[in-house]
């Protein structure tokens, strides 16, 4: 892939997927690793692997695969290089005050709490589901069959709803 074409393509992918990537990283980040560290690792892996993308799935599904794999690897402590000193200067995270009201923030907190009660693989399923991915896309990302996903999702969703409903109500 030519350099300029690759750069342009990469920028488009990143712009379209940055919030999705960040949401996933935010769920998997456990101190001392921060969401920012995971986010930039995902960005780095997307950049590194872009030449080998084979169009078997959509590019966005492929980005999800990379994000989930990077996050699961961090859980297994397979990569110990998410170091704060290596932070990329070109990526900035700025908190926005008053963008979400206190009640909205509370709901986000509850959702995160409830997701954290799930195991790692159920977490990956639920974050993909919450991002509105179809079972077919989730199956491509996880490597499981659609039927398997459907059965698992029923159980995981029930667990999540049972946790969050009393908190929000």
């Amino acid at each position: 892939m030519y350099r300029q074409k690759k750069d342009k393509y990469f920028k488009e992918i990143l712009e379209r997927n940055k919030h999705k990537i960040y949401r996933i990283c935010n769920i998997y980040a456990v101190p001392p690793i921060e969401a920012q560290d995971l986010f930039q690792e995902v960005v780095f892996q997307v950049w590194k692997s872009l030449n080998s993308f084979k169009s078997k799935s959509s590019i966005d599904t492929w980005v999800y695969k990379i994000a989930i794999n990077v996050c699961l690897r961090s859980k297994m402590k397979l990569d110990k290089n998410y170091c704060k000193t290596d932070r990329l200067e070109s990526i900035h995270f700025t908190p926005i005050e008053n963008e979400i009201d206190a009640y909205g923030q509370e709901k986000i907190k509850y959702l995160k709490e409830c997701i954290s009660t799930l195991n790692e693989t159920d977490t990956s399923l639920i974050v993909l589901y919450l991002d509105d991915l179809s079972y077919k896309e989730i199956a491509i990302i996880t490597g499981l069959s659609e039927n398997h996903i459907a059965v698992k999702m029923k159980r995981v969703r029930k667990k999540l709803f049972e946790c969050i409903t009393p908190k929000i109500n």
Partner: protein, 212 residues
């Protein structure tokens, strides 16, 4: 609580902060990062191989210089062992660097498990390929050292460095035994503290994902 409400909460979770990316600078930074990683890998490879190359040169020189037949055999064996270690490290490294993040989660976990199992075999067998063979070679080397006068051999540097007296031979062999025992312990510890828990964690995730 409706599904859509839950999805809205989820989507709002990334609105608490703004992610701004200076893309032109980012591609430059990412290229620099790739280059620096490649540089680090190259210098690590050079470091690991250079230790064996120094060993080959040293024992090659001793093979040529020392007149004692048993020690000569030990030098030859040592050179073969150093070549074997270089090949073993290179093979292991080639297998370990193949991390493909674009695989599906299940494939990625299976591939990681395979890599970790290979690492585990490498560390678990370190006694048989990394500790015992060089110790035996050192043992033969030291045992083969004889009185230089009997061979009309004079080399002041080698004579000052080699343990020619029985007492020095015992001290050197004891030191070497302790060193290789320590190497073995370090490998076993790495296996127990790092590799085995990681394999367990991967197996656990694989079970979780397969379970309905």
């Amino acid at each position: 609580m409706f599904e859509q409400e839950l999805k809205d909460i989820w989507n709002n979770s990334s609105k608490a902060g703004q992610i701004s990316i200076e893309t032109n600078q980012l591609t430059e930074e990412l290229n620099t990062k790739i280059n620096s990683i490649q540089k680090r890998i190259r210098s690590r490879d050079i470091r690991e191989i250079s230790a064996s190359v120094i060993g080959i040169l040293l024992f090659g020189y001793l093979l040529f210089e020392i007149p004692f037949p048993i020690t000569k055999v030990a030098c030859g064996l040592a050179i073969v062992w150093f070549v074997f270690v270089i090949l073993k490290f290179r093979k292991s490294k080639l297998q370990n660097t193949k991390t493909d993040f674009s695989l599906s989660v299940t494939e990625q976990l299976n591939s990681q498990k395979e890599i970790m199992l290979q690492q585990s075999i490498l560390l678990d067998s370190a006694l048989y390929w990394y500790a015992i063979p060089p110790f035996i070679m050192n043992f033969i080397f030291i045992l083969g050292l004889e009185n230089p006068i009997n061979f009309n051999w004079t080399n002041s540097v080698a004579e000052s460095l080699l343990p020619l007296s029985p007492n020095l031979k015992i001290i050197t062999l004891t030191g070497l035994a302790l060193f290789y025992a320590f190497t073995f312990w370090v490998n076993k510890r790495a296996l127990k503290k790092d590799i085995k828990p990681t394999i367990e964690s991967i197996e656990n995730m694989l079970q979780q994902i397969k379970k309905q």
